[in-house]
Subunit: 439 residues, 2 copies
Amino acid sequence: MIKSIGIALAGFGTVGAGVFDYLQHQSDLLAERSGFRFDVRSIVVRDLKKNRDVAPPSSLFTTSWRDLLKDPEIKIIVELLGGTTDAFDLIKAAIESGRMVVTGNKALLAEHGQEIFALAKKHDVPIFYEAAVAGGIPIIQSLRDAFVGNRIESIHGILNGTSNYILSRMQEAGLDYKAALAEAAELGYAEADPTFDVNGGDAAHKAIILAALAYGFWVKLEAIRVDGIEAVTAADIFFARNLGYNIKLLATIRSAADDSIEVTVAPTLISKNSVLASVNGVFNAIAVKGDLVGDALFYGRGAGRKPTASSVIGDLVEAAFALKSEKIHGNGRDKGKINFSFHSLYGTSRAAADICSCYYLRLTVEDQPGVLGKIATLLGDAEIGIASAIQPESLEGSEASLVFMTHQASYGMISLALEKIQKLSCVKSKPVVFNVEAV
Amino acid sequence: MIKSIGIALAGFGTVGAGVFDYLQHQSDLLAERSGFRFDVRSIVVRDLKKNRDVAPPSSLFTTSWRDLLKDPEIKIIVELLGGTTDAFDLIKAAIESGRMVVTGNKALLAEHGQEIFALAKKHDVPIFYEAAVAGGIPIIQSLRDAFVGNRIESIHGILNGTSNYILSRMQEAGLDYKAALAEAAELGYAEADPTFDVNGGDAAHKAIILAALAYGFWVKLEAIRVDGIEAVTAADIFFARNLGYNIKLLATIRSAADDSIEVTVAPTLISKNSVLASVNGVFNAIAVKGDLVGDALFYGRGAGRKPTASSVIGDLVEAAFALKSEKIHGNGRDKGKINFSFHSLYGTSRAAADICSCYYLRLTVEDQPGVLGKIATLLGDAEIGIASAIQPESLEGSEASLVFMTHQASYGMISLALEKIQKLSCVKSKPVVFNVEAV
């Protein structure tokens, strides 16, 4: 009754080791539920001699992903190499050889999804990528399958656990950015080089994948505004809280009235009463608004060995069913379900400068009379409405913070106004601009 | 490129009309994404002459579900008849004829899931039932597919929108039960006869389905404790709040240390800081704890025309893919994926009396000295530890409320102790027992 399927793991970091360990020791339940066992026939590693906490027989190791293609018994390749070079070559070669691919590679899909799925379609090979976004949260299959009938109005996602941990600790414990980052690193929530987590790049990759599922095409990374959390200070957290908001690194994806698609990743003030505002620590959450389903929300661990392995294992089973169907019937595949549908009912992404939002602005200014007036005038000249302004007492010496909450304006207009404002002699540093979203 | 598939709607109430309306007017996006259009060839109604807000050509109507089986072009039957008589006969006949079934019938699955899926397995016909639990929330596919590798430690669900609306309004607006129920009825959130929503029966059906997906067998409805919200008073809401809790009608499903399965539906006090406590109004939410995925949560609209149609449409597409695969290959089906896996890695459900919990007890007693002592003594004799007790000042006349929060005890022990307590002459009515859960 139970069928064994040969697979390979390309990459043996945290997630790869988690998948292997699971398949070795915990796969009875999986076999009962699915009817499949997975036989790991080959593992691609960079360093054959590295000490590992999960230690497969060294006979499984190879340093060349090309070896995987030589074994006809390898039917599914789990790509966990990361990066966009070898991983890209491997996935293309796997598809061309008719092998199914399970991948958690968000960077690769965000940058080359267009080509990968075009090739997958050509060869009728499904790609499985639940692990690429939000770890163990089944947001990919939910958007793709469960919500297939929905026009997606918006998606708001907290998609990077490291950033969310840092912001949560700044919020809860009053830490400043550096202290919170140091704490995250100490607890293993931030990598040795956390740049890509805190600068919004990782969240942007995930946002592009979610936007592609919702709208049927791949938005270019270069085209979207990606701001990280490095500019968020304890003062911002404080001001936001007094105004009734929490600050989150939020991916905002939506269809505009003209059906063009907006994708933004930026620190964003959201009402502290919203469910998303209560998502703390390393957790991820995604709020989806569909015309049928209404408001839906998904919450869970966005990273880590086990949660991500959970998604990889779910995908392995889906791949195995697709494979079984193919095997039984002897010819061709389950044509059409490559797990991404290109279509052109939407089809343009809106330029970052044309995307409208309300904003939180913080400026560091000389603490002297008339400054508020000068800045407010420049905002008014740009037709940017001010919803509220805070000029707290100066904290140190001759500098003060000025905070504005604006009405809706395009990012282009606000950027232009801030360029002018920055040139004022009374303005002492680059203004800080965060979004404000009703979620 | 787009394939048309003949389907039938058995039942044309809120959800059936929603599905029909969608397929008539909004299916371009669905076609682009999935490659399918659905051609409704027949609709089973009870009353041919009824006025309907969504009005299909009367030529589609029939009053006999048997007619659906006569049309070989009907490949998928959407069962929305409700109930467990005609619906059961229809589903069995559909399976036997090799047709795929999409159903939202929680009562039928909870009561006859065992037989239905055994028959489905025999005939290799998948059943799709995302709409049976929590409306538009994709909890069925998430538990079944995405979490297929997980040992599920627990599931906590707010599964009945009517009950949750009533409790939310009691909580937010201080309404009593009757006023909140009347408000729900006025807004269309409670049916003319709301019994099955407020007595826990509906939530119990859904809990049985979730337990079956998690643990591989069908718990008997008769075996589980099902308490509704009719006994919840404004005083309970008040006491719970003062103790730091909200009251929710909660389905609690978990595997005990000996791998037996516990299923309970009861009013339950949960910390007001928990995410589930903030799920208000007609919304549903399900918190899942898996050994791999950790804590995950799903939130959305649990009922209503469009959210439930969203799930039916998702299932139609899944069924269409299964059908397409069958068609292309010409023989047999995608064997093995009937969408429910029986297994016996768990396999017993724990008797309600043996399930342990902490409890909230409220007693109406004579307002005279010594009463608290008598009751506390009886609890102590039964070895039920008291975590806290509240004896508020009496509200009216000679009666007073007494509230206890207990430590862990089995439901059998607490029931026995309360039977004795109820016999005390100073106790004026049946004691109220709610669960207390850390979620």
